[in-house]
């Protein structure tokens, strides 16, 4: 009986000890960052999203070719790449920042750099790397711009992409066209030709900046002035309104499916085009490998974004490489950043679907693989989305305000005026 009373006490103590032990062993596991200094062996941790939904081509190149090559030329440095689900990387970066537990390198979406830089999470690379200006001068300006915040650069472009018009021969045949629609008028004509054939002329999966800006820019409109101080007068200017109005008209005629307004149940663009439900979509270079795996018989046709009054202007996508300011291996990390800008790195990634950001490598990649040519051409004029910390709020504002315009409960002008006002407020508070 006494024994069983002790059992209670023992259980209590045991639980506490287990927890304490868990604490100890846990802390030894994370001690990789403790040994700073240039001479001692260094392990760099890098977070990224190269994995991309079970497609291992990019992670394989990184882990089996590029990192070993870097480690061979940089004795004492080991690089450990950790793949994070795309939808979760931002949450992980956020909690990591709150706890001061970030890796040494991050492959960040271009849209997040300003946000994390404004929080003080990232190291200003233009101050930390003596050769920054040489490296940055070699990259595409549109990609480089996404690293700027408040007078400093917090990263270097890592890979880039843009959206071009993708169509299929079957769709062109159905519309009786010999070549992809090159202008807004061509697109409208295509819509008329496809009427009643159960093929939507165009499909896209949202109304965020990534989706809607190519149309606004190509139509000659703008989101803000060049200095990012005001959206009113730009986003709700007549050219912006006209470009969006064209989409709204097509939508109301049933020529654009409601995937555009956020119907998550609609056929996705990547399935709809090869299956012949959609005639055209805007998409990026990654689709080649996805279709190759999923629809081997499908032969996509790539063409520039249809031109309006402003020409054919698309949106810049891609990733930047950044260094969290908490790293204790700054020299090793900057060495790896430098390596990412090399032809070796850029061209190896180009082979598996990531477009180079260094202009010279871009030319070489396009020459080596003609697939990239339309993307490279489009990139020459493509623009980045607003480089401000609240870029995700801009996306929310755009889709929230524009959805009713497409559903017909408000006018495009009213929607964009309201969106512009809200973006003005963000711009003044930045």
């Amino acid at each position: 009986m006494k024994r069983s009373m002790t059992a209670l006490a023992v259980t209590s103590v045991l639980t506490a000890t287990t927890l304490a032990l868990a604490g100890c062993s846990g802390s030894t596991g994370t001690g990789s960052g403790a040994t700073a200094g240039t001479a001692a062996p260094v392990t760099l941790t890098m977070w990224g999203t190269y994995g991309n939904g079970g497609n291992t081509a990019q992670t394989d190149v990184l882990n089996k070719t590029l990192i070993p090559s870097f480690e061979a030329s940089h004795p004492g440095i080991t690089v450990k790449y950790v793949d994070i689900p795309y939808d979760s990387l931002k949450q992980k970066l956020t909690t990591g920042a709150a706890g001061g537990e970030l890796p040494d390198l991050v492959r960040s979406d271009i849209g997040w750099v300003a946000q994390f830089a404004s929080l003080g999470v990232l190291a200003p690379l233009d101050e930390k790397m003596s050769d920054f200006s040489t490296l940055s001068a070699a990259t595409y300006p549109g990609s480089l711009a996404t690293n700027a915040w408040n007078g400093h650069y917090y990263g270097l472009p890592l890979d880039t992409n843009t959206r071009v018009l993708v169509t299929s021969q079957a769709a062109l045949d159905a519309a009786g066209m010999s070549k992809p629609p090159a202008t807004f008028d061509d697109l409208k004509a295509m819509a008329a030709a496809l009427k009643g054939k159960k093929i939507a002329v165009f499909a896209d999966s949202g109304l965020q900046g990534w989706n809607i800006l190519p149309w606004i820019w190509s139509g000659g409109g703008e989101i803000t002035d060049a200095k990012l101080t005001k959206a009113t007068g730009y986003l709700d200017g007549s050219k912006s309104v006209a470009a969006v109005q064209m989409l709204v008209d097509l939508y109301k005629q049933g020529e654009i499916p409601n995937l555009l307004t956020g119907n998550t149940g609609a056929t996705s663009t990547s399935d709809g085009l090869p299956k012949g439900e959609y005639a055209t979509i805007l998409d990026g270079p990654w689709m080649r490998d996805i279709w190759k795996g999923q629809f081997p018989a499908f032969a996509p046709i790539y063409a520039p974004v249809p031109a309006g009054a402003g020409g054919s202007i698309s949106v810049v996508g891609g990733e930047d490489v950044v260094i969290p300011s908490t790293t204790t291996h700054l020299d090793a990390a900057t060495a790896f950043v430098r390596y990412t800008q090399s032809d070796e790195f850029q061209l190896a990634m180009a082979k598996v679907g990531q477009m180079p950001v260094v202009a010279s490598a871009g030319t070489k990649a396009a020459a080596a693989d003609p697939f990239y040519a339309p993307f490279a051409t489009q990139l020459a004029t493509a623009k980045p989305r607003l480089v401000i910390p609240q870029s995700s709020q801009v996306d929310t504002i755009l889709s929230t305000e524009l959805t009713p315009a497409f559903e017909g409960t408000t006018t495009v002008q009213a929607a964009l005026t309201s969106a512009a006002k809200q973006i003005d407020a963000l711009l003044t508070s930045k």
Binding site: L19, G99, N263, T264, T396, S399, T403
Partner: protein, 318 residues
């Protein structure tokens, strides 16, 4: 009299008083209860209550995420901001609608199935497992599954048009606020029925047969027997199910995030998806915390009211 044969898991869960009748003053040392409490309490207070307090504290700040950064105290600003934020109200309304539309079917259908399964038969365990299967499957998996079923070209539309000949099967379920909420509720009900069924089944086993037999002798029909004998006997279980489902209903999150992402245009945003967006997309933790605190308070008050309701009835019976 019903006491000793009650379905125990559920009955006393909702009525702390039940313990009072059976409790006896123990002479064992005063420290004994605390020794029993200690392991769980240490963990709970340390890893749940303390973070809860911190989250509560955050809601009064313009919270800076970065470790070591100084945050500004802004009093009730985050709360007044919520009061004037239409998306917050829409989220609250949607959470409420979800709760209102998904809880009653789970209770009614769960109880119905439990009644049908009450009698022991060789097939009973098989049905039990089948109905419980959705409960044991992860929310992530079933949310993706239902998004897929309710897709424009999914099974639901196909079944409506080609099998049942209702409409032309062109409904875009996930593109409108109400149709999307229906789809999300359908998932909630489908996933939850097994759970309430199991609790009711346990409760029904505790209804003394003698009572029912007596009712049969008195010439009571099925409905009367259900109303007079069964219902009062499972009242505590009913209370427990209602409380748990209401809590769960207001905390709906994964299914909305994965099925509609709160879209289109924020129409299907519920409180928790909106909180998540504020916290982890806009990194506005102060505001996110304020929304979470409001949600917790609402749920707590509702639960207390319900427990009081069901407990009140419980005491009457004695």
């Amino acid at each position: 009299m019903i006491d000793s044969t009650q379905p125990q898991v559920v009955r006393a869960a909702v009525s702390p008083v039940a313990a009072r009748t059976t409790r006896r003053r123990r002479r064992a040392g005063r420290a004994t209860p605390y020794l029993f409490l200690a392991p769980a309490l240490v963990l709970f207070v340390g890893l749940i209550v303390y973070p809860m307090v911190r989250a509560f504290q955050m809601s009064f700040y313009d919270w800076k995420v970065l470790a070591g950064a100084t945050s500004t105290f802004i009093g009730f600003d985050n709360y007044t901001r919520a009061m004037g934020d239409p998306v917050f109200w829409r989220g609250l309304a949607n959470s409420g609608v979800y709760m209102a539309l998904s809880v009653p079917p789970q209770i009614v259908l769960g109880l119905l199935i439990a009644m049908l399964l009450k009698a022991k038969s060789p097939s009973q365990p098989v049905y039990r497992v089948l109905f419980y299967l959705p409960v044991v499957t992860s929310w992530v998996v079933v949310s993706l599954l239902f998004k897929y079923l309710f897709a424009d070209k999914g099974v639901i539309n196909w079944a409506l048009a080609d099998v049942l000949h209702l409409g032309d099967g062109s409904t875009s379920w996930l593109s409108g606020r109400w149709t999307a909420l229906i789809a999300i509720c359908a998932l909630g009900v489908w996933k939850g029925i097994g759970w309430s069924m199991m609790i009711f089944l346990a409760a029904l086993q505790g209804v003394p047969e003698s009572l029912e037999e007596a009712a049969v002798m008195d010439g009571a029909n099925r409905w009367q027997r259900f109303r007079v004998v069964t219902l009062p006997a499972i009242r505590p279980a009913l209370g427990f199910v209602v409380v748990m489902l209401v809590i769960g209903g207001f905390n709906v999150f994964t299914s909305v995030l994965l099925m509609t992402g709160g879209g289109p245009g924020g129409q299907t945003e519920v409180l928790l998806t909106y909180m998540y967006r504020q916290a982890f997309t806009n990194l506005d933790f102060g505001y996110g915390s304020a929304i979470a605190v409001i949600l917790t308070v609402i749920v707590f008050l509702l639960s207390l009211a319900q427990m009081r309701l069901f407990r009140g009835g419980d005491e009457e019976e004695r």
